[in-house]
């Protein structure tokens, strides 16, 4: 599977990321590093601990990383969650549902990247 196919599978925008980074070799390198990125795990942990300050920050970081890599699908869901968490109270309705969506897309993304890189 090529990088383009991998992007397609995870709902990313390969043309956009190439257009910004101007270097094909950088894309698989960053994608690989995404596997080590801690922001999703921190987000999950923070929500479990009801630490909404940390939760907002991690969601925000995850969203930023996805923006950089043009992981559009994961960006959309993490952006939604970031906005729900922005007031740092955890009182906005729909947070667990939004988190569920993030988890679903995140797991799928990781899976596909692993598949893509092993080829």
């Amino acid at each position: 599977m090529t990088m383009q196919e991998c992007y397609k599978a995870i709902g990313g925008n390969y043309e956009a990321v190439l257009g910004r980074l101007h270097n094909e070799a950088l894309i698989p390198r960053f994608t690989l590093k995404f596997l080590e990125d801690q922001s999703y795990l921190q987000l999950k942990q923070a929500l479990e601990n009801k630490n909404y300050e940390d939760a907002f920050r991690s969601a925000h970081t995850l969203k930023g990383v996805c923006q950089n890599l043009s992981f559009d699908r994961l960006y959309e869901v993490s952006n939604e969650l970031t906005e729900l968490l922005r007031d740092r109270t955890g009182e906005k309705p729909g947070i667990p549902e939004a988190m569920e969506k993030v988890t679903e897309v995140y797991e799928m993304t990781i899976e596909e990247i692993k598949k893509g890189l092993s080829h």
Binding site: L21, N23, F30, E36, D37, N68, S70
Partner: protein
């Protein structure tokens, strides 16, 4: 040594930091910080950071708090900051610019654009620093030449009259100090930096008329007769005449100011001076200032007809009107400068004497934009030295080191083991050591009274250290910003058991 420019990347996401490093390439030397606290600490430790890339949302201390600290400590002028964030709300961006950032980049970013913006920012700062250095060199050369000319002149006068050599240099220094103080305490005399420089230079000429006074009167040991005194007094008119007779354009500000000073530096506020008996503000401020510092220096120097008075006595004599009446505002300035003047007598002259002139010229060139302070790093070194000196003389006891800017506090015992370390501003230190509330209040009051002139306080308090509760004597020494007036930047101290 690595000569590449240093970029500090502050972002809590490792991936984001790596992306930036990849994009910017090997041209630069990178430092990384995961949060604001680390960033502030690194700025404090690595003096030569050329650029900071700063994220907003981070744990412990966010990007805005970092900027606020940098603004307070003035190092934002030294280190340009580019903020990188996915926050694109106008308010957020405006706030960042108001706190002094140079540029704001929103995610997702284009790699070429980020690279260019980083290059441009570094380039601008390099140019600005280069410009300051050019100005510095030129001012230095100009001032050196100026000083050499003045020294030659002082020596010529001094060859006839042994008093003049140092006298002229003292007058020059004290005149500048007084003028600066004057502008600080009142708006009544709107003197620009250029005016101050002009009057200061012209002050060197105040006694040139003495070249035409016969040597036996000039160097007579003991009191002059009335007649001799009359001749001596003509030196002010003679000096003014020398300047007038020269083939200068009399409209030139330096020539005009020098003339005023020569002629009127023996006038007095109440009209009882000479040669014209001018009164109050009829006497130009240039001549007023030179006349009061002239009297001060004459009193504190040894002359062929008298011994030197102590600094305090001299100030008191001037205040009491024993040397004629002076403008009350100048008396006030003189009193406020007392300490600095006494240092001048002991030849502890300011080693950065051209900084004002450099700042003025630089600002003029960059059309009044205030510049990054090239002496910021040097000043930091000075504060470090002050710390080292303090601890050197108080070694072997428990020591305290508190940085007001970063909130970093470290307490060590005599064996250099850490008793307490924190960087949380809300931490209650006194509670930790079991100090009672009354003592805490007392220390607060005393600390509040410290100033640049009066840096140290000593108290006796009861405290619990390493599980032992007993009386301690504690000495605290405040550190002050070398750049900004009345800004405390740190507290160092030690405490020891009362035996």
């Amino acid at each position: 040594m690595d000569k590449r420019q240093k970029i500090l990347i502050v972002d809590d996401s490792k991936l984001n930091r790596e992306i930036l490093k990849e994009i910017l390439g090997e041209t630069y030397n990178y430092l990384e910080a995961e949060n604001g606290n680390q960033a502030i600490q690194m700025i404090g430790e690595n003096i030569g950071i050329n650029l900071m890339l700063l994220d907003i949302n981070m744990p412990q201390m966010n990007g805005f708090e970092v900027l606020e600290i940098m603004k307070r400590s003035q190092c934002i002028a030294e280190t340009p900051v580019i903020m990188i964030s996915s926050e694109d709300a106008v308010n957020t961006m405006r706030k960042a610019y108001e706190l002094g950032i140079t540029d704001y980049i929103t995610r997702p970013f284009d790699s070429v654009i980020v690279k260019k913006r980083v290059q441009n920012t570094l380039g601008l700062y390099m140019n600005q620093k280069h410009l300051i250095n050019v100005v510095y060199d030129q001012v230095y050369e100009k001032e050196e030449n100026n000083n050499i000319m003045i020294q030659i002149m002082s020596n010529i006068l001094g060859s006839r009259n042994s008093e003049s050599r140092e006298h002229i240099l003292h007058i020059k220094t004290a005149t500048e100090m007084m003028l600066r103080q004057l502008v600080k305490v009142t708006d009544a005399y709107p003197l620009t930096e250029a005016d101050i420089a002009l009057i200061t230079t012209a002050s060197s000429l105040h006694d040139i008329g003495k070249i035409r006074i016969p040597e036996e009167i000039l160097n007579k040991p003991g009191r002059l007769t009335d007649e001799e005194f009359k001749i001596m007094e003509t030196h002010s008119e003679l000096g003014a005449a020398i300047i007038k007779d020269m083939d200068f354009s009399q409209g030139h500000p330096l020539v005009h100011t020098a003339w005023e000073i020569c002629r009127w530096h023996h006038e007095r506020w109440d009209g009882k001076g000479y040669p014209d008996g001018l009164k109050g503000e009829e006497i130009p401020i240039s001549a007023q200032v030179v006349s009061i510092v002239d009297v001060y220096d004459a009193l504190t120097s040894e002359r062929c007809y008298k011994k030197a008075f102590e600094h305090d006595t001299a100030i008191q004599m001037i205040m009491d009107g024993q040397c004629g009446q002076f403008n009350p505002i100048l008396l006030k300035c003189l009193k406020e400068l007392s300490l600095q003047l006494s240092k001048m007598l002991n030849k502890e002259m300011d080693d950065n004497k051209y900084s004002h002139e450099i700042q003025r010229l630089s600002n003029e060139i960059l059309s009044d934009k205030s510049l990054p302070n090239q002496i910021y790093s040097q000043s930091l070194v000075k504060v470090m030295q002050e710390k080292i000196d303090f601890f050197k003389s108080n070694s072997g006891t428990n020591s305290i080191d508190y940085n007001v800017v970063s909130g970093q506090l470290t307490i060590l015992n005599g064996k250099q083991q850490v008793l307490c370390q924190r960087n949380n501003p809300k931490f209650d230190l006194f509670k930790e050591f079991g100090v009672i509330e009354e003592d805490v209040q007392y220390i607060r009051v005393l600390l509040h009274q410290t100033s640049v002139q009066n840096k140290e306080i000593s108290v006796q308090i009861k405290a619990t250290v390493e599980n032992k509760s007993q009386m301690y004597k504690m000495k605290l020494h405040t550190l002050w910003s070398p750049m900004k007036k009345d800004v405390c930047i740190g507290i160092i101290g030690y405490f020891d058991i009362i035996k």
